[in-house]
Symmetry: C2
Subunit: 297 residues, 2 copies
């Protein structure tokens, strides 16, 4: 597991990005607009093939950290691992670029593997079986959310050293509790960052009821579905919405906040859980250095 | 097919975004940071199941315009349609959310459908079979590129009315020739926007040798592979790079320009084809209104 960077400010992250970790970025020489040769850091992107017992499930393109959590979380979020499954092993082979998850229960998902859905946008990935499967029963708890927490989280996350600040072209997703970011995962695929968080939660038996998920990417149907199936009642983002994402959030009772930039935000589901405990006028704008991409506010 | 918006400035687009087209965005009521009820436009995201002859291939999550081009381009970019295939029909059923592409040749891709790769980030999608298949033979033509074209394209595209400017949370990809943007496609999945362009090119028999592909998203391996397999020798973006994307671009001889914002850009492959015919100091910065997301420059 990556260590938190040596910054007092991020001392309380359980997992924080480690932009200096070997293998996550590479220096590449190119030319800039003046024609001068310039070295820049670019993120790595490598295949990781996930097996469940003897069965090859998928090859994910990933930055490569936390392959064990990625595999566990992917399988969990696809409904291929159940909460009561006994995991008997998670074996990562760096050379073969494979990770094998073993369970006590025999698993067989031939039918699921036949149906594939390409999901949208930044949250894109493959969803096996019926995307909406299991969603009808989901009713998330009406956990109250202080707006002051959301402002504190956004500010803190934007200022935390990350691969994004180092090399760009990467998404971040952060599991939070009240105003405290706990686990900050990044990946070239945003769906991978979320799956790594799901894997961490599964491995450590972490409850979801009092958590907030913060993401840098868009609030598409896939992001909303993953968050709901993980049982997390609040999803916040700098970025914008899709209509279907909003529909599903309202159906399952997910508090959905987007377009968070500086003091601005939009809440499209669960407004009755928001506790507006801070005057937005007192929230400073984002400074240029830490401004991230996202939908226009 | 969508009509170009009524703006003199975009009169020469062959296809331009039509932000006012019915069904692409929906007004949703939420609350902003002051607690006031606000209506915002959010993009639609709906399933489209693509069939090749009698065989169901994939369900794509898409904004829903140009389903015929999306299906053709997806199948072409997956190597399931060959350039010499006779297309005997493309049947879109809006109610069933299906599109069926029919060919004179019998098609069978059981093996390909077995192997699935989840690609990265914004460019994400499902790739069947070996992602690198067919890439070994690709050597793109050494088409010269004037930097003045790139600046003109970026400026023009950013100012063109679009779903992005209307509702955010969407990617754009534009097929260009010299300083002229020809076909501007948007979609919730960036891979879909590229596939729609590939479908348009296939349908109209458009040659790729003198084209430039401009995208708002990241230059991941999938974007680079799609562009190379389409035969387009130049790929430019506002956003950043992944290391594997750079490797593949260098292997196939693709001119790769990223982090284009205002006068700044980085060229990580094919610098010898760039004709630096303009002083970057004369290029104005981006005004705030038209600033788009993307990697830090």
């Amino acid at each position: 597991m990556a260590k938190a960077p040596n910054s007092a400010d991020s001392a309380d992250f359980i997992i924080a990005p480690d932009p200096s970790a070997p293998g996550l970025t590479r220096a590449v020489t190119g030319t800039d607009q003046t024609g001068a040769a310039v070295d820049i850091a670019v993120v790595e992107e490598r295949p990781l093939t996930i097996f469940l017992n003897a069965r090859e499930i998928v090859t994910a393109m990933t930055i490569g950290d936390h392959p064990d959590y990625l595999a566990l979380g992917f399988l969990r979020n696809q409904g291929m691992l159940r909460d009561d499954d006994t995991i008997t092993g998670v074996d990562y082979d760096e050379e073969l670029e494979t990770v094998v998850v073993r369970t006590a229960r025999e698993t067989l998902y031939e039918d699921k593997l036949k149906k594939k859905t390409r999901t949208s946008g930044c949250a894109v990935g493959t969803v096996f079986g019926d995307m909406m499967e299991g969603l009808e029963q989901v009713r998330l708890p009406a956990t109250p959310v202080r707006v002051s927490w959301l402002y504190a989280l956004a500010d803190r996350i934007n200022r935390t050293p990350s691969l994004y600040l180092e090399a760009g072209a990467i998404h971040g997703t952060v599991l939070c509790q009240q105003d405290r970011p706990l686990v900050y995962m990044e990946d070239v695929g945003r769906h991978n960052a979320v799956d790594k968080i799901a894997g961490w939660m599964l491995h450590h038996g972490v409850s979801a009821d009092d958590k907030i998920l913060y993401t840098t990417g868009r609030l598409t149907s896939e992001m909303v579905i993953k968050t709901a199936l993980m049982g997390i009642p609040v999803l916040a983002s700098r970025s914008g919405f899709t209509a279907w994402g909003v529909d599903i959030a309202r159906q399952v009772g997910l508090t959905l906040i987007g377009r968070m930039r500086g003091h601005r935000y939009m809440c499209l589901s669960g407004d009755d859980r928001l506790i507006r405990d801070v005057d937005p006028g007192t929230i400073p704008g984002e400074d240029r250095k830490h401004r991230r991409k996202g939908a226009r506010a």
